[in-house]
Amino acid sequence: MLQTEKNRLNPPEKPPPATSVQSLERTSVLLRELVSHLRQNRTELREEWARRITQAKLLTAMSNEEVFAEATSVYDNYVEALETGTFEALQAYARNLSERIIPRGVETHEVVGIVLLLRDVLARSLFAKYQADFTKLDRILDAYEPAANRIANTVAVGFVQERERVIRQQQEAIRELSTPVLQVRERLLILPIIGVIDPQRARQLTEQLLRGIRSNRAKVVVIDITGVAAMDATVANHLVQTVEASRLLGATVIVTGLSPEIAQTIVNIGVDLGKMNTVGDLQGGIEQAERLLGYKVVPFTEVPRTEAQQPG
């Protein structure tokens, strides 16, 4: 096979046929030659690469042994991707690698850096090997470069995607934690809102509240927005929607803790809060909710003795 390849390449006066099928064939033959070269020199190239990684102060979070072990698996996966031209295995490996190294604080530039270093190391070894035959070197690089770029791309994208997945997961967790729906009394829920409300959080907040109303059979809900720093038209409308949706489930909503700034903003925006029940602070809101539910909280000493002794 190498022979036919050489036969085709050797007469320099005859330009190679440019049809795509043939050029594709040539590329695959060249890649095969490349792969066998990389397999033969696996040990030196790997060591060279690991050395360059340490030199460039990349992957400092990992020990030298770990770097070498990872380098070995990346190298093998790399060669395999070059050989088969399929990137699924490499993609899966990149994801797996990212999963392991992200918690250790490895940065994006380090991952991109090591893949580019490998690309450099291999390219240099190709230069060294085909120095004498410049045409051949040119062809080999033609075959090598797109594949190598694609590999670098795959690994970097895999890493970034994994990071984004982790970030999304954490955002989700923070959101879940930041909107508790709490029952303070039979049929009375409170929903303290803290922080910034974006449309996605507003939606989630409403969904959680509606589910809470249903599962606790709540009749009154106190939404406390003391912890909300700023409010714009979108957020105010979300609040109105939450109140309306709760009403459709048969629950009354009391909004508490509107700061002077928010009150001013709302009046300026002109959002219709006429149908909204607002009370100054959370305590007042809970007291009003208790009145709506027919509770009366009385200090123990004020309860007449006879009444206190009667059950129920």
């Binding site: 939606r203 409403t206 969904e207 509606l210 309306e244 709760s246 009403r247 459709l248 489930l249 048969g250």
Partner: protein, 120 residues
């Protein structure tokens, strides 16, 4: 299929099934508005627990129904709106203005009974 109307004391109860054709909704409205006076009922409960999509037509019919029943001297409560349905409704701007709502049939009954007591 025509929606059956049940009588429980002085309350009429209609339960909607998952997919109600618009025609049936219209005939339910007509029947309830007629029956409420004929049966000398003071309240009407429409149970929509099974409904998973409430479009603007259904929502308007229910709203009109409640207003018409009020003109005929009785109270209407819509009960059992699912959380997802409620959320979708407010996003579509379907608010069921001036219509009483309750979590479920039981809540709707106790709402009406409270209402009757205060009116009596």
């Amino acid at each position: 299929m025509e929606i059956p109307i049940l009588k429980q004391g002085n309350v009429l109860i209609a339960t909607l099934q998952a997919a109600v054709p618009d025609v049936d909704l219209l005939s339910l409205r007509t029947a309830l508005v007629r029956e409420v006076v004929r049966s000398r009922s003071r309240g009407v409960i429409v149970d929509v627990t099974a409904i998973d999509v409430m479009d603007s037509f259904a929502s308007h019919i229910l709203q009109d129904l409640a207003h018409m029943i009020r003109l005929r001297g009785a109270e209407t409560v819509i009960v059992g709106i699912q959380p997802e349905v409620a959320f979708a409704m407010v996003q579509l701007g379907l608010r069921l203005e001036n219509v009483a709502t309750a979590l479920d049939l039981e809540e709707g009954m106790s709402y009406l009974n409270r209402k009757f007591r205060t009116l009596a």
